[in-house]
């Protein structure tokens, strides 16, 4: 199973070099250009691929949505994943290797909505429950403290996480598509692929949020740094190849915005939901609307 994958990946590198040598060459999409370059060479082995349908759809240039958006089958096409595929994508988001683009290597023209949705849902509950636990642990010694479930935090966590996981990819995708149309470069990813990358990159925050309930300040900040590095590098290695052909300032600004927003989410969650042992009860609302407004303001670079 390793050789067809390596073969496909190298073909893509050749295609990218060809495009770099001749930027005027028009391409429709990265997947179809690699198929065009390698149409004679790559023998598509249907038998040992994990999903036969994705091979044929790659050759067809990614034409998948043939039903209208009002039919059920249209939405079923976004859930066309097996257990092993989801687990493989999660593994890819936790261990980003420098050469591997998450979209090309793991998603491969089969973006799914299962992963992003359920990872966000799990993250909402893990942040809320661990936050509640950390409040309880940090105030256990206080004799006046009476345990409260603080259920409203679930609502706040849900709003924050789902807004981040859906609005930020929308902004990033819109920006990339606008630049692509303006500069006629290699294509941006589709909206679903962007949502997919963001959704799977949030997975590392689930164990991080559970570990945040340990009320040591230095441990919490260390965990933030580790999680940021891992999931930030997934995002960076995914978006850098698309953005690097743009002007230097735009490229760096885009990457910086992506990383900063990601950091804001992590730090905001940590500061709002979790306490270290020495802090008192944080106020209920001022941090979160500020974070949401800040996110919304940065979200409109175009």
């Amino acid at each position: 199973m390793a050789s067809p994958d390596d073969l496909k990946f190298q073909e893509f590198e050749e295609a990218a070099d060809l495009l770099a040598a001749d930027p005027g060459a028009s391409t429709l999409s990265i997947s179809s250009s690699s198929a065009a370059v390698s149409s004679g060479d790559v023998k598509v082995d249907l038998s040992d691929d994990e999903d036969n349908q994705q091979e044929s759809s790659e050759l067809l240039g990614g034409e998948k949505q043939t039903s209208g958006f009002w039919t059920f089958e249209y939405y079923q096409s976004f859930f066309n994943v097996d257990t092993v595929q989801v687990l493989d994508r999660i593994k890819g988001s936790v261990m980003p290797l420098p050469g591997r683009n998450f979209v090309k290597h793991h998603i491969r023209n089969n973006p799914d909505l299962y992963g992003p949705f359920w990872i966000c849902a799990t993250l909402v509950f893990s942040v809320a429950i661990s936050g509640n636990l950390s409040t309880f642990l940090s105030k256990k010694g206080d004799p006046q403290y009476h345990y409260r479930p603080q259920f409203h935090k679930v609502t706040i966590a849900a709003v924050a996480v789902f807004l981040y996981a859906w609005l930020v990819p929308l902004g990033v995708w819109g920006f990339m598509t606008w630049r692509q149309n303006a500069e006629r470069q290699t294509s941006a990813y589709s909206f679903l692929e962007t949502v997919c990358v963001y959704g799977y990159s949030l997975f590392i925050y689930i164990p991080t949020s559970i570990l945040w309930s340990i009320p040591f300040g230095w441990l919490q900040w260390l965990l933030i740094v580790v999680a940021m590095v891992i999931s930030g590098s997934v995002l960076v290695t995914t978006f850098w190849p698309v953005v690097r052909d743009d002007t230097k300032t735009t490229a760096f600004a885009t990457m910086a915005t992506i990383v900063v927003l990601h950091a804001l989410l992590a730090v905001g969650c940590k500061m709002y939901f979790f306490q270290t042992a020495e802090l008192t009860v944080s106020p209920l609302s001022p941090t979160t609307p500020a974070m949401l407004n800040h996110t919304a303001l940065i979200n409109k670079p175009h």
Partner: protein
Amino acid sequence: MAEVVDVNKPLFAGLSDVSIAEDIPVEGDIAVPVRSQSGDDEISTLDEPVKDTILRDLKAVGQKFVHVLYPKKSSALLRDWDLWGPLLLCVTLALMLQGGSADSKDDGGPQFAEVFVIVWFGSIIITLNSKLLGGTISFFQSLCVLGYCILPLTVAMLVCRLVLLGSMEVGGFIIRLVVVTASFGWSTFASTAFLADSQPPNRKALVVYPVFLFYFVISWMILTFSPSH
């Protein structure tokens, strides 16, 4: 001499050798609940006393409770689905989760509407998820199964409230933890016993995980219930 068809042998007799084996399960969407008495009996149910009507439905609900408590592979929940049981359980659970430290609306346990929304909205999302992944179970059957399998958690809630009437701190917490964990495992096991067959085999874990998350959240709500002193 021409061969005479043996008139004593029935026509198409050879076909009886090719028969559908009885152990092959017949799958399909059953969208309409099959009532055991239909047709001519329906007219007579108008004239029966109200007590009979209510008792019949209550007996059906009670029978399904028994099926949840002893989850064998029976199709009673799937064939004759109804939503009375889930409604009853959800209302009971939401009512019992009230009366917590709800003096300040912000910091307390879940409101009644929040429990309702989580149970019903969560069930709908899990059902949609399993249908989108290619499951063959119908929408209301899945809602019915998920709703009925809240029964062990409701029983655990009752036990927790009884335990909280006493005043043991750590011991009471440990008892509540054990009871809630056991009933969480029971609920998840019961619902997967009913739902797992209708999924494609390489996606079973993808369907079971949201069910696990759903009952985990409900268990957390039960475990963290703290009455106001």
